[in-house]
């Protein structure tokens, strides 16, 4: 899941200030799960913006919409019949959603309301934790499904560093030591032999340095 947090209202308020008709568009997928950009958050933000405008004596017309996915054309297409009627789109999608909408409607003005933060999981209600950097070279199979790049503050492939205390990371005492988790799980599943090997550094060219990454699947094309 891609997680995000709402920007301070003042940041995007300034960007939409020149416009009178605002289309507030949420996304019902990842950012709804992390309570940043779903239908509820769209309603909440629209309500705050309307009150703000009335407080300042400004005329503001808002339409609220939440797409099932803001990063897929078939869902973005639902905006086609409305988007020309609005001066600006305030997107509560992740960065991918904002850019996807802008690509479908290149003349529309799209303003992001969220800061996209990380790929992670819902640990408990109200708590989301990063657990994947999207490195493009997944090693979870060797490390008992604990990512040493994301989970270890030092990103060690050949840990532990020796600095953890009581199973917690020395960098942040609230964070479990990833290598403690890796070793415990490998011991419990009888796979400690996986650590006999010395793991080479990651191939970072799979993550960065070549512009936007692409996945091409001919079998999925129509």
């Amino acid at each position: 899941m891609i997680t995000a947090e709402r920007k301070p209202l003042s940041e995007f308020k300034e960007m939409i200030a020149p416009y009178r008709k605002v289309l507030v568009v949420g996304c019902g997928s990842c950012v709804a799960e992390c309570a940043a950009g779903g239908e509820k958050e769209v309603g909440l933000l629209a309500s705050a913006l309307r009150m703000d405008a009335r407080t300042e004596g400004r005329d503001l017309e808002i339409k609220e919409m939440t797409l099932d996915r803001q990063c897929v054309y078939e869902f973005i297409d639902q905006l086609t019949e409305f988007i020309d009627q609005y001066d600006v789109v305030l997107s509560l999608g992740c960065g991918a959603g904002v850019q996807a909408v802008a690509e479908v409607f290149p003349r529309a003005i799209i303003v992001p309301a969220l800061n996209t933060t990380f790929v992670g999981e819902t640990k408990e209600a109200g708590l989301w934790v990063e657990n994947c950097r999207g490195c493009g070279d997944c090693k979870l199979g060797f490390f008992a499904a604990v990512c040493p790049i994301t989970g270890c503050a030092k990103g060690l492939f050949n840990g532990p560093c020796g600095g953890s205390q009581d199973g917690k990371c020395e960098v942040d005492s609230d964070t479990p030591c990833a290598w403690q988790l890796i070793i415990t799980r490998l011991e419990e599943s009888g796979r400690m032999n996986l650590l006999d090997k010395v793991y080479p550094p990651a191939d970072w060219s799979k993550q960065q340095g070549r512009g936007p990454r692409k996945i091409v699947r001919e079998d999925q094309k129509i």
Binding site: L9, K40, G43, L44, S47, A48, L49, M51, R54, T55
Partner: protein
């Protein structure tokens, strides 16, 4: 000046477990004060969402109360704690648009009290009007009628 005399519009979200006969108790007050007071009974105060609070303000309420049972006395264990956190979130949001957070307030009913919702509402109406009318024009309502 108290909130009733000041003509402040009050909205009260409340846990209906604090008054078993809340429906009958609040009717006379609703008839007397008309649109000056609105009650929203909840199965548990934990049902409240920040969106409810903002919509109440947007619809013309000058002061919104969330009335919960006493801390530690929630039938569903954490409902009133959740209500407190959600109200705090909504307070943060209205502060971002320049409104005083005191337009939203949490009231814990004291443990062991047998106050009806109408008595409680009267007490709230009798409080000093520390916040004025919300400086938000509501479509269809004359601004002059809403000023102190």
């Amino acid at each position: 000046m108290d909130q009733k005399s000041a003509g402040l519009k009050i909205t009260i979200f409340f846990c209906q477990r604090i008054d078993a006969d809340q429906d009958a108790h609040r009717r006379p007050l609703e008839k007397e004060l008309g649109s000056q007071i609105r009650f929203f009974p909840l199965p548990c105060s934990g049902r409240i969402e920040p969106l409810h609070l903002l919509r109440a303000l947007e619809s013309g309420a000058d002061k919104v109360y969330v009335v919960t049972c006493a801390e530690g006395a929630c039938r569903y264990r954490e409902g009133n704690i959740r209500a407190k956190k959600r109200l705090a979130y909504a307070q943060g949001l209205i502060e971002e648009i320049g409104l005083a957070k005191d337009h939203l307030e949490l009231i814990h009913v004291l443990a062991g009290t047998t106050t009806t919702i109408a008595q409680l509402a009267e007490e709230l109406l009798a409080r000093e009007a520390f916040v004025g009318p919300l400086p938000v024009d509501v479509p269809g309502q004359e601004r002059q009628q809403r000023q102190l």
